[in-house]
Each structure stands twice: as structure tokens, then as C-alpha cells.
Amino acid sequence: MKILVCISNLPDTTTKIKLNSDSKSVDLSGVQWVINPWDELALTRAMELKEKSGGKIEKITVITVGDKIAEPTLRKALAVGADNAVRIDAIASDDYYVAAQIAEYVKKESFDLVMAGIESSDYNGSAVGGMLAEFLEFPSISSVSSVELEGDNFVMKRAIDGGTETVTTSLPAVAIVQKGIAIDPRIPAMRGIMMARKKPLTVEAPADIQAVSEFVNFEMPQPKPPVKMVDAENVGELFRLLHEEAKVL
């Protein structure tokens, strides 16, 4: 069996976001790039499944749509344990574009399970996984918090209101994964870092697809107003502030 894990390359989650003067794009100078945390957990789970599958899962591929800047992130995924990496050589313009590009690649190869993080922590689009399944006409399971390999199929769990749902599906399928899928992302070991040098990272030309949306404007959130400290003795003042200023009482 083969698993494909979709990877977004994005700024480290602690990056202080600055906008360019046109307010249509983000200033990416000096940014440290990382694997989208959700995708990193998906990859970690894929590795765990492969390791305990007794050879049944033979290959884990990671894929991203991005320019050369994304390659260190792909190589980190290889160091963590993916077997090969694919970069579609294009700027990830919007969710539609990314999903369509990945779909074109999946059509050429065969995968039993495609895993995608529930959202990317930069634009928080939460759309690529679902769109990808539609393009491929694969069943998709969303908000997956657990995947197990049982026999020849994957059994997935989803958190639903007040409980947990257990689902199986025909394969190939898309699993859109969220919190709980793996505990902590894997830290690459020296051996993995060394082996990553020798693993294939292929660059594919993009398919002829046009993005369907464009950014018009970004705005930074208003800075938070300063915290007001109220003396513990002065409960009346606290209630007054909650009532008159915060308007929550």
C-alpha cells in the first residue's frame, strides 16, 4: 500500500507577520519555513502506520506545490522518514490551484490513502483536502483524529458532537486529519537526516490550471487594548468595568 501526505510549506507559527506596502501580500523576507503543523502530524501518523504494518505499507510519499523555497521542508519530511518527495514547481496561488495540481499528480500515480492536514496555519483555508477528493472522485473523511490499519483497510475515528464516530471507506480515499492524529510531530534523527540526502526529491512541471481567486487586501488585527488591573479588594470596580466597558455583564 502507498500513502501520500500533502505538505504545506509555511512560515514558522511564531513569525511576526508583516504586510507588504500593497497590502495584497505578506512580507516573507527573513521568514523561517516549516512544515504545516497539521501536515507534520499526518506524516508522523503515516510513519507510525508504516512501521507497524509489517511491510504492508511499503511507501510514503510527500508532496507540495511550491517553489524552490519549499525544498528544505520536503527534505525535513524525508529526514523524518518519508520515502520520496515531490514538488510541483509552481506558486500555491489558491486552494483550488493546489488541490487541482495535486490531483493531477495522484491520477498519474496510485495511492491507497491520501492524507492532508485539516488546514494550513498560514491562510487557514481548510479546503485543499476536500477539493482534492472531489477532483479525484475519491471518498473523503474529514476531521479524522485517529487512523488505524486493520486488515487491508483503514479505520478512522472522528470527533463528533458528544462522541466519536468510527468510519471505514473504500480505497483509495482522502483522510483530512486534525488534532489527535499523532501526539507529537517526529523529530528527525541523525540517521534520517543522513538518509534524506539519498532519497529522491523530484520536481514536476505544473499542469495547465488557473487559480480561481486572488487576494484583494489583507488587514492586520487591531492591537489588543491594554489590560486593566483591578485590586482584589475592589470587587465593585471589577463589576463596573465588566458591565460598562467590557459589556459582558
Binding site: 525544498e71 528544505p72 527534505r75 525535513k76 523529530i187 528527525p188 534523527a189 541523525m190 537526516i193 543522513m194
Partner: protein, 380 residues
């Protein structure tokens, strides 16, 4: 050509070390310091990640990484926990390096491989109650008995003294020959006649286990001598040259860990109506700290680069160690000052980093010994 960019791989190793430190070591570092508890689980995890033998060639089950990566990794670990980084430094740059560079293939096969895999830990036994900086005054004697050596003596302040399985012991075989009568031996800790003193109660790096080790008629096989007869002093000095890079990087990490905390605090804490960073007295302190750390990092990386290029690095590593250790003391002291009352309590980490910094000026060659090495190189 000068290139100040780190390679993709070097950055990956730096991030791996940072991730482990910030995610795992941080959880119990204060508690381990208070209880002076050895970080058994962390050492096991770091061994699995390959950090304990990262400099050793793949052929001997090591990580095959360069010394620049090692500097970056030690810095990241030391930002959070210098007790862990000293275990890593001693194992990598004293024990593994010494065996890889100067041991023979049988010794490498038998002793280096498990050390490089991190399954076993090593210790380097040079210091004695009356021989520290003046390493020629060894009183530990290894008497040649034909097919074995008989070792008697006491070694002090041994990092990994109890947790190590493999010791490298420096001892006199021919005291009358001075430093030419010194040899280095691989000694297994469970050899009959070895007794281990109690865990030393220390000012800092309290969760690394420091012990004295006593040798009473300990038989060491002839084949466990490292190098030619009389090679021990040179062995110790050459090995310590590399060890200094590890400790310099540790001091660098202690300084940058304290700096990061002070910088963050200065942007959160308010006094006189504004964040204290906006007061010049604090901003200038942080500026001075940043320059010192940058200098220390450049010295560490330069020494590591020279070593990786196969060029002489003894003076460079002495400069790195002396400077990084001295500024670690200065930077951590200032960090405590910036955090004020918070800085003085354990919860905020910087007081511990200040205690840890002090040791970097003392062990593996005091700052004064480094100055001897540096000043002597000036006349060559």
C-alpha cells in the same frame, strides 16, 4: 571565500535539537536541577535521535555529522539544560572522538560503536585531587605487569562518573619520564577494584552526575592502552582541544538561552508606564549581550569549521572556550538583573543558567588555562 550561511542539513540538526529541548527538556529541567536527578530518559531519547555520537563516522555507528552542526545542536540543548549538554559533549567530543581518532579498529569495534549509538555512555578521567590544570602531575599509576596494567589512584569531578560504562583513564606508567610517561587506557566501569564516590553536590549542572572514582589494583588489559606507549599526555591534550568546542558551545547556549528570556521579559514587563525594553538602561544591556553572543557564536563556529577542514584548531577552540565561558557568566548575570526578582527565583530559569555558566569557566580547562594556550600561540 567566506560563507556565513549554514547548510540545510546544519539547520535541520539545529532545529531537531531545538525541538527536543523546547518540547521535552523544558518539562522537567527545574525539577531535575532541584533533585540533582540524572536525565536517564532524555539521554535515551537523545541517543535514539543520534545526538550522543553525532560526530562519529557512520562506519562506527555514529551520525557522521560535522562539527559546525555539533556547535548548533549543543547551543540549542544548552539554552534549556546544560546538564544534558555536558553529558552529550563529554560523550561526543572527549570519549568518542578520542577513540575514533586515536584508538585501533578492535577498540573502535568493541568500545566506540556502543558509545556512538548512545547505548553506553563514556567518561573522561583526567582530573585528580591534586592535578587539574597541571595535567602532568598525575598521581594515578598504571603499573606494567606484562600482559596487563595495574591501576591505582583517584580521579575527581568526573562527569558521567556513575552513569558511564566506559572510562578513558589518564595515568602515569613511568612517573620519572614526566609527561612522556603518561598513557591513556580504556577501562570498563564494572572492573573489579573500582569504587565510586558519592554524587557531588554542585552549584549548577546538578543533574549531571559528577563523582570521584577510586582505583584499587584494577587490572586493565594491555590491549586497552590507546596509542603507542607514552602517548597519553598528547592524547589528552589533543582530545581536550576538541572538547573545548563542545564546552564553548555549551557556554554559548547558556548565554543565548538567558538572553532570549531576558529579551522576551523586557518586552512584557512594564515599569514607569512602558515596557522596560524602552528604557535605555535595559535596551543597552540587551544590545551588549547580543554582541557578546554573536562574537561567541562566531568563535565557536570558526573553531568547528577549522576542525572540519582538517586545519589546526587548538588556539581557535581555546579562544572560543575562554570567550564564550566568560561572556556566559556576564550575560546570565545581566539576564538575572533584567528579570529582577523574577530572575532570582528558579521558575524563570535564568538563575539556573547563571549557576551553570560558572562551571564553563572552570572545567575542561579554566579560562586562565585557555589564556595560557592562547598567549603561547602568539609567540609561534
Amino acid at each position: 571565500m567566506i560563507d556565513f550561511e549554514f547548510s540545510e542539513e546544519q539547520i535541520m540538526i539545529q532545529q531537531a535539537a531545538r525541538d527536543y529541548a523546547q518540547r521535552e527538556l523544558i518539562k522537567d529541567v527545574i525539577e531535575r536541577d532541584e533533585k540533582a536527578e540524572f536525565p536517564t530518559e532524555h539521554i535515551k531519547n537523545l541517543a535514539e535521535l543520534g545526538f550522543l555520537g553525532m560526530l562519529v563516522d557512520e562506519k562506527w555507528d555514529g551520525g557522521g555529522m560535522d562539527t559546525v552542526s555539533y556547535v548548533l545542536a549543543i547551543e540549542e540543548i544548552s539554552k534549556i539544560d546544560a546538564s544534558v549538554s555536558v553529558i552529550m559533549s563529554v560523550n561526543n567530543s572527549l570519549v568518542c572522538y578520542g577513540l575514533e581518532k586515536y584508538g585501533n579498529d578492535e577498540q573502535r569495534e568493541k568500545y566506540l560503536k556502543p558509545l556512538a549509538r548512545g547505548e553506553k555512555i563514556g567518561a573522561f578521567l583526567l582530573s585528580e585531587p591534586e592535578a587539574g590544570s597541571d595535567a602532568t602531575k598525575q598521581r594515578t599509576i598504571a603499573e606494567d605487569k606484562g600482559d596487563y596494567y595495574l591501576v591505582n589512584g583517584t580521579k575527581n569531578w568526573i562527569t558521567n562518573g556513575n552513569s558511564a560504562s566506559t572510562y578513558i583513564v589518564i595515568a602515569h606508567t613511568h612517573p620519572e619520564k614526566g609527561h612522556r610517561g603518561i598513557n591513556a587506557f580504556i577501562v570498563e566501569k564494572n572492573s573489579p577494584g573500582i569504587s565510586i564516590g558519592p554524587h557531588e553536590k554542585k552549584m549548577g549542572m546538578r543533574s549531571s552526575d559528577t563523582h570521584s572514582v577510586m582505583f584499587t589494583d584494577v587490572k586493565v588489559p594491555k590491549e586497552n592502552r590507546i596509542g603507542e606507549d607514552g602517548f597519553g599526555f598528547k592524547f589528552a591534550m589533543k582530545t581536550l582541544e576538541g572538547g573545548r568546542i563542545g564546552i564553548a558551545s555549551q557556554a554559548l547556549g547558556i548565554a543565548s538561552g538567558a538572553f532570549e528570556r531576558a529579551l522576551q521579559y523586557s518586552q512584557e514587563r512594564k515599569a514607569f508606564g512602558t515596557e522596560i525594553f524602552n528604557h535605555q538602561s535595559i535596551a543597552f544591556k540587551l544590545s551588549d549581550m547580543a554582541v557578546k553572543i554573536e562574537n561567541a557564536r562566531n568563535l565557536c563556529v570558526k573553531a568547528a569549521w577549522l576542525k572540519d577542514q582538517g586545519k589546526p584548531y587548538g588556539t581557535a577552540s581555546a579562544m572560543a572556550k575562554q570567550y564564550a565561558a566568560d561572556i556566559a557568566m556576564e550575560v546570565t548575570t545581566e539576564a538575572v538583573q533584567i528579570l529582577g526578582g523574577y530572575g532570582y527565583v528558579s521558575e524563570y530559569h535564568v538563575e539556573r543558567l547563571m549557576r551553570e555558566a560558572k562551571l564553563t569557566q572552570i572545567y575542561e580547562g579554566t579560562s586562565e588555562v585557555q589564556k595560557i594556550i592562547i598567549s603561547r600561540s602568539l609567540l609561534k
